[in-house]
Amino acid sequence: MADDEHEVVERQVGKGFEARFDLDDAFSDGEDADYNLEFSSAAIKKHLAENPSWAGHNDREDDGETENSSARDHDTSMSTFCLDGSSNSYSESRSSSSSPPPPTAEEQPDEQEVPQDFSDITLSEEPSTNGHSTSHGDTQEGDASPLRDTSPPWDTSYPAVHIDASRSPPSRVMMSAGAERNGKDHQEDEAANPVSNASSSYLPAPGHDIPPLPSSPSSPLPQTLTTPTIISQRRQTYSAGPSAFQRVMSQTRPHFLPPKNRQEDQKHMADWQAMMKQSRAAEEKRRKALQERRLARELKVEQFMYKWEKEILPDWRVVHKNPNLRRLWWNGIPTKLRASMWQQAVGNALALSNGRHMHIFLSAVAFIVFQDNYRSCLSRATRALSSGSFPAETLQAVEQDILSTLPALHIFHPETGPLYQDLRDMLCAWVVSRADEGLGYVHGTAKIAGMILLNMKPQQGFIVMRNLLERHCMRSLYGSVAAKDDVEAYYRIFDTLLADCMPKIYFNFKQHQISPGAYLPDWLIPLFLDHLPFEACARLWDVLLLEGDSFLFRAALAVLAVLEPRLFFPDRQELLDLLRGENKAALEVAKREGRLLDSAKYDIYGVDEETLWERIDSMEDWWKESTWRRLTQRELPDL
């Protein structure tokens, strides 16, 4: 019976108390000594006598959302009744038994019972709920009797409480934190932090990050108006719905910890605000520093323009021989030269005609004379579109992909984007060109095409795109199921590199069964455009087109390195969310700071160009081209 009641009580009272209840019992032995010193039941009784409004406190706690006095009365009666009943019954059983304390707190020396009592007080509001709505002090004695039989034995020293509880509502309303804190809060503290002693229990719980005020004495605090805060806080735990307390509720402390007085709360609030201000300032400073670095680098790129024009432009392959020029290339191609440099670096292994002269193109079937590969593909696509033979689902996939292509730039927007039509044309032409090989559309192609279109015209761009996607790693990722083995091989290569470069991340990923397949294709298929800021991508592309597939992996490792502090979640789903760029906390922060959410997915983690390149550069010594060759030879012997 007793146990049953407790269960009910606990449920009614709220989750916050369940833990306390157990803890209280579990630690009761250890605690007792401390309690005895400063917080005996006798002492409490004294305090209660001094602060009669204590009981009113309880009432406030119990009365849930109701604000009118009659409701309060009714609640009062309930709590008084409960207190009374439990304490009385306890007194009886106390005398008879002295067994070790079971979960329901059978047995403890008087003085040590106090904490128990208090927790029980809060818990025991349940049995009386409706029956005693109007009753006060004395009447409850009678009502309590049935309870007395059933309720577990509790401290004899307690009965004084109910007298206090029956005081008039006004006094209860004025009730202050003081007495209550001595009682309940103390208990909560003790329960939650069994090691703390009585005096420290007034302070914020140990380990709490808010600096404690000078320690308060164990005697009751002066009655102040801090109560509303406290009461509201506690009522929060009891009542189901939202309430006006949130306005006065402490925001600097979790609700399950004991409340603090107003001055303390205000101080902490001020501290918190100051800290937030500082952190914003620091963030601002960091952004400025990055911005400066970026501007300085861009300036440098501009300043070396003459070098580009004199030494690289005539024959770009010189960068493979001259480390200085290669370094220059790694710093980013000047935007003006980007189109031609990309075109040259990607080359035209497919020997696709760009329309400048007639060209014989070897297709899988026969020799076909193309005037211009792009135009011929496009005209075939246009014909297919107008005749309705262009697969509808492919067209839908293309449109879908375009919608998510650099949306922040608004350049490819179907209605207002100036390059929308070009992009759509190019993708349709690409679909046609791939149909020859029996391959379909791949989600993510629109990003590649979009990036290329930003830098060059469709004719040129189409050839760059086709050749770029013909590189082995890209081809595998864009390939059909036939390329699955190759893709797996690339994942293994990446895993090996990851294990060597960032063993801790590797280990955590392994533990939670996150293979490169869970994130790598998302990054590589759109060549990072989905996840990284646009400018960072442009520079990544510069190097990517020069260095080939190995740089894909270096860049991917660098992305992980930038995310590293966030990658130690011990939870698979959380890790996957994070890698998808959907970490809830980070999204919240980004929203709060009003950052745009339609740009790159990893913007919310503050992954920016400079940090990323810092990582890539810091891998310079670690990276061995020979390792890469060895790995590819091992995993892809046919290459």
Partner: protein, 207 residues
């Protein structure tokens, strides 16, 4: 039979000088006191009819975030026939920024590009920081069109676009222009295949 030409016009200038407002006034004859700043690019078209019944259709690329997206520059400048660089007459610094854009255009864009320098917010001339003399002198030196406008009152807005239309080379056949309609479903015009990014010697830094 009247001739029709189509040109790509890019709009540049520091943020909050009124680029979008200027275009809005020109295209829709509207003004919005509390316009939000443009994100990314906006794209509008407007046709101007000259005295000789020639119609000039402007494809207006209203840019934003140029500072943030340096890599977009090639796209903005590619095939741009004309540029309107806007500054705010109440902000001396915005003219300096405008000069930067002009240097950038001269370096990166087609050499035949027509550039107009436009001092906006003429309605706030009481708070003027940039004198007419200063700006017009600079425009003369650089060979730019120059005028002051108020997107709010509409003063001078149509005039500057008309001036640009007149200055554009209207002799070449429209098909030779790189600019074309981007609205979905429109027929494509043939595209200039001979145009390679022009390489000019320029060691000067752009700031």
């Amino acid at each position: 039979m009247s001739k029709q030409f189509q040109f790509k016009l890019v709009l540049l200038g520091e943020s909050a000088v009124g680029k979008s407002s200027l275009v809005l006034r020109f295209v829709k004859d509207q003004f919005d006191d509390y316009r939000e700043s443009t994100i990314g690019a906006a794209f509008l078209t407007q046709t101007v009819t000259l005295e000789d019944q020639t119609t000039v259709k402007f494809e207006i690329w209203d840019t934003a975030g140029q500072e943030r997206y340096k890599s977009l520059a090639p796209m903005y400048y590619r095939n741009a026939n004309c540029a309107v660089v806007v500054y705010d007459i109440t902000q001396a610094a915005s003219l300096e920024k405008a000069k930067t854009w002009i240097r950038e255009l001269q370096r990166q864009a087609d050499p035949s590009i027509v550039i107009a320098l436009c001092g906006n917010k003429l309605d706030l001339s009481a708070r003027r920081q940039v004198t007419e003399e200063e700006a017009s002198k600079y425009a003369d030196e650089e060979g730019l069109l120059w005028s002051e406008t108020s997107a709010k009152t509409g003063e001078g807005v149509n005039a500057i676009f008309n001036a640009i239309a007149k200055k554009l080379p209207l002799t070449a056949p429209p098909s030779a222009r790189g600019a074309r309609v981007a609205a979905p479903g429109t027929t494509r015009q043939s595209v200039d295949l001979n145009k390679q990014p022009t390489v000019q010697g320029s060691e000067a830094c752009n700031c």
